[in-house]
Every structure is written in C-alpha cells, then in structure tokens.
C-alpha cells in the first residue's frame, strides 16, 4: 500500500533553530531518506517552502481568484512530505516515527486511494 506522510511543524520552531541545529537536522533528513530508499519504501518526497511563499487559488463561478498565503490560520503548517510504500499501517507509522522532525510536530499518515 502507498501512504503519504505529511510533516507538520510550527514554522516558528524551525526559524528558532541555530545554524548548527539546522545543519544537523538537514543531515539527519538526508540519512533518513537514504535509509528508506535502501529499504525500498521510498516513492518520493520533498521539503516545502514556508507558507509565506504560498499562493492560494480559488475558483468562483468560473472566475479565478489568486491570493497570497493559505487561508486557514493554524498553529502547525505542512512543511514537507514523503510518499512511501509500506506493507500495512503499522509499517507506515513506524517509518513516520523515524522522520527526524517527528519530535517537533505531528506526522499525518494518509493512505493513498489505489488507481483504477
């Protein structure tokens, strides 16, 4: 089964990291990604720019409205994701728990609806 692991963090927490801490986190993410590539679980993944760089598109009555930022004000923002292949939910949650930033914010594990 495929799962999308959505990585949520308070962006302010990331900003508060010292340069050394940020470098360490970066290295840990690299190692984690390598490990799930090696185990065959990795299908894709990316870090996202902060919500200050986001743009929201809405369509009303056929008219496109483009605005700055996301609409919902939430404490934690989507900061990145992994797409993984796992035997079942237990394997997916075990992988999610190993994401280096998991101690800083929740990881949402969403099963992918199979195509066809």
């Amino acid at each position: 089964m495929q799962y999308l692991l959505l990585i949520y963090n308070a962006e302010s927490q990331w900003d508060a990291l010292s340069e050394a801490e940020a470098a360490k986190m970066h290295k840990e993410f690299g190692a984690f990604t390598q490990s799930i590539i090696a185990s065959g679980n990795y299908k894709g993944g990316n870090q996202l720019h902060p919500v200050s760089k986001a743009t929201t598109v809405r369509v009303h009555d056929g008219k496109t409205i483009v605005t700055d930022g996301p609409f919902a004000e939430t404490k934690e923002q989507l900061g990145g994701y992994y797409l993984i292949d796992a035997a079942d939910l237990d394997e997916a949650t075990a992988i999610a728990a190993r994401i280096p930033s998991a101690g800083m914010g929740p990881i949402e594990v969403r099963p992918i609806v199979p195509m066809g």
Binding site: A87, D88, L89, D90, A92, T93, P111
Partner: protein, 415 residues
C-alpha cells in the same frame, strides 16, 4: 425444541469469535467473514435440531461458512469482474481444512482479531463496538441498546471502523513482542470500559459486564504470561461479586459500607483473590493494584474492620504508577476511614483547589459523606445539594436525595 436450541446458543457464544477470527484471516474482510459466519449459524439453526449437533461443531461451522463465503465470492466475481477468478477465491479454495481446525491456529486468529479491533488507529468508541460485535458476537442492536446510542448511529460506527481497517491498511496480526505490552494496554482498556459500562448501568448493561469478564478469561487463556491480564480479570470478578449487594430491590444504590456482605458472590471472590495474588507476585501493574484494593474489601467482614491503612498504602502505589485526581479522591475517602474525616476533608480541600475534578459529582458527594460522619448536618446538606446538581444517573440522584432529606431532618431536630 427449546432444549435443543440452548446448546446451539451456548455454541454460538463460545464459538462466534473464534470462527469470525479465522474467517477474517482467510477472507481478508470483516464484512465477508461476519456474513459467512451468520449464514453458517443460520444453517445450523435449521439443521441441528433435526439432524443432531455434529461431533465437532466448530469445524462444521467453519467449513460451512467457508463454503458460503466461496459462493458469495463467486457470485461477486461473476458480476463485478466479468468472471475473472479472484485472488481471495483461489486462496480460500486451496486452504486445507485441517489447518483451520487446529486449536493453536484458531487461538492465534482470535488474538489477531483482538489486537486489530483494539488498534490505536481506531478511536475508543469504535474499538469497543468492534470488539463486542466481532469477538463477542453481540448484535449491532444489542450494542446500541447497551450504550444508549441510536441503532443507525451504532451501525454507522461499525461500518466506519471496518472501512478504516480496510482502507488504512490496519494489519490483521498480533503485535511483535517489542510492542505487545503497549498494545495490550489498549486491549485491557477496552475490556475495562465494557465492564464499567455494564457495571454502572442498570438492565441491559448487565450483559456487558458478563461479556467483559468472558473477554478477560479469553485473554488470560491466550496470554497466560501477562500479569496485568490476570489483574484485570481479578479486578472485574471482585467488583462483580458485589453486584447483588450494591442495589436494593427497588434499584437504589447501596454503598460498600452498607452492603449485606452475605450477598457477595463467594465463588467469584475466591477466584478473584487467587488471580490477584498471582498477578501481584509477577510484578504489579495498575490493574493488579486495583484488584488488590478490591481484595482487601472482599476479605473484610465489615467496613469498620477493613484494613484501611493497607488500602491507603495501595492507593499510594497506584498513584505513583498512574497519577490521577480520581484516584486521589478515592485515596482521600480511604484516609477518612483510616485517620478520621478531618484528615480526609483536608485532602478534599486540596483537590478542590486544583479544580481538576470540577463538575465531578463524587467530589462533593465524598465531602458530604465525611461531614455527615462528623455530624455537621447543615454543611453536609449543602454538599449533598451540590452533588445532586451534578449527578446524571437516576440511581445516584435517588441516593443523594435520600441522604439530603436525612440531613435536612437532622438540622430541624437540632436544638
């Protein structure tokens, strides 16, 4: 006819969970398994009274259910997949019957089912409903009634839980050793929730506490090495032993100290005591310690001669394992019995200041009881009024109203 259906009912209660557990593994679907098991029992209900009960009813039921499931799957594949043989169908047709009749395999299936029903990815309400439906064989209607939930809502809850298991890929397996202790906590909590629901509600609830005790026995059989499983069963048995004594004939609540201890079920107490002892010897957890507290009560001939200092000490142990204001409240009541009501009231003051139990009727009820023992009728009456405003169950309200009337009468008699 009636005496021929009775053994069938017994077989249904004993075997439903086992049969469904094995069918889920074979079919990979809760719905298909339940349907097939239901059909097999319907055939049994029709045939057995006329032809007699087969020598091995479980094997007969599993094999009949397997055939029913095969039929259903064949119909389904013909209609939906244009006649393509379904993978499940192939597996099912090949599975040697002998393997699924062996006790060991069946018991493993039952454990898988318990841990899947109590998977942390399901919410607590769904865990409870699913356990009662698939493992205990209660009907959706019975579960809805027991939890005072409308039938369509309970049916929906079960449907959603099964959909989540399927779509989120919740595995059908017993967790590995390293995760067993943690996952077992969720299972024990479900069993204890079912028990308490039954213990605290009248009528329909009765069946739930029986069901929880049955589940406790099954878990003890399946996980003999786990002390807390024995602790929980002991706790339930020791509380359930007081069932006949804790309500009057007109349904009024009778406090532990006023209960006729001759009505306590000595057989259940005997079993509870030996289980509690064995659980505590293997390293106590919260359920075993609570069972030990119930055991001290069970061994006392009256409330007065109960070993209250021992109970206070056990609450101290419990609080270290599991800090909780409700446990602190229970400890305060034990302190009042052991050291006097003034000491108990001081602890209640502290609890009240922290406001964690705001809205919990047992806090003012405990205060009222201690004030009553001290002869502070007027203050006791005030506390009973506060408790009455917060109590939600009818039996509780009747008890508090009775006590309040006694206090008001005592105030009037005062010079």
């Amino acid at each position: 006819m009636a005496n021929e259906q009775e053994p069938l009912e017994q077989i249904y209660r004993d075997e439903w969970g086992r049969i469904v557990a094995t069918l889920i593994r074979l079919l990979g679907s809760f719905d298909l398994a339940e349907e097939a098991a239901q059909e097999a029992f319907a055939v049994a209900l029709d045939q057995w009274p006329r032809q007699g009960i087969p020598a091995n009813p479980r094997a007969w039921l599993i094999s009949t259910a397997r055939h029913k499931a095969l039929d259903a799957l064949r119909r389904k594949t013909r209609w939906e997949d244009g006649g393509n043989p379904d993978a499940k169908l192939a597996v099912l047709a090949q599975e040697p019957t002998v393997a699924i009749e062996e006790d060991g395999v069946v018991e493993d299936d039952r454990l898988r089912l318990i841990f899947t029903c109590c998977h942390p990815a399901l919410n607590a309400d769904a865990q409870v409903a699913l356990t009662l439906r698939t493992l205990c064989g209660l009907t959706t209607e019975q579960i809805a009634k027991a939890f005072l939930v409308p039938l369509p809502a309970m049916a929906q809850r079960l449907v959603r839980a099964k959909q989540k298991i399927r779509d989120a890929g919740i595995p059908y397996r017993t967790p590995p050793r390293t995760e067993l202790a943690e996952r077992l906590q969720a299972v024990l909590l479900v069993v204890y929730l079912v028990f308490n629901e039954g213990y605290n509600t009248a009528g329909e609830g009765r069946a739930l506490s029986d069901e929880a005790i049955r589940l406790g026995r099954v878990l003890c059989e399946l996980l003999p090495a786990e002390a807390e499983v024995r602790g929980l069963l002991a706790l339930m048995l020791l509380h359930d032993a007081r069932r006949e004594a804790r309500k009057s004939s007109d349904g009024d609540l009778i406090l532990l100290e006023d209960q006729d201890r001759g009505l306590w079920n000595r057989k259940a107490i005997g079993e509870g005591l030996s289980l509690a002892e064995s659980a505590l010897r293997s390293g106590p957890g919260p359920y075993s310690v609570q069972a030990a507290i119930a055991a001290v009560h069970a061994q006392a001939a009256s409330a007065i001669i109960t070993d209250w200092p021992q109970i206070v000490a056990l609450y101290d142990v419990l609080l270290r394992m599991q800090p909780s204001p409700v446990i602190e409240l229970n400890r305060a009541a034990a302190v009042a019995m052991s050291e006097g009501c003034e000491a108990g009231l001081r602890l209640l003051d502290e609890l009240e200041e922290r406001a964690e139990l705001r809205g919990y009727y047992l806090l003012p009820a405990a205060r009222a009881d201690m004030l009553r023992r001290l002869g502070e009728w007027s203050a006791a009456a005030d506390a009973y009024r506060t408790a009455l405003a917060l109590a939600s169950q009818e039996a509780e309200q009747r008890f508090l109203t009775r006590r309040l009337a006694e206090m008001e009468a005592a105030v009037r008699l005062e010079p």
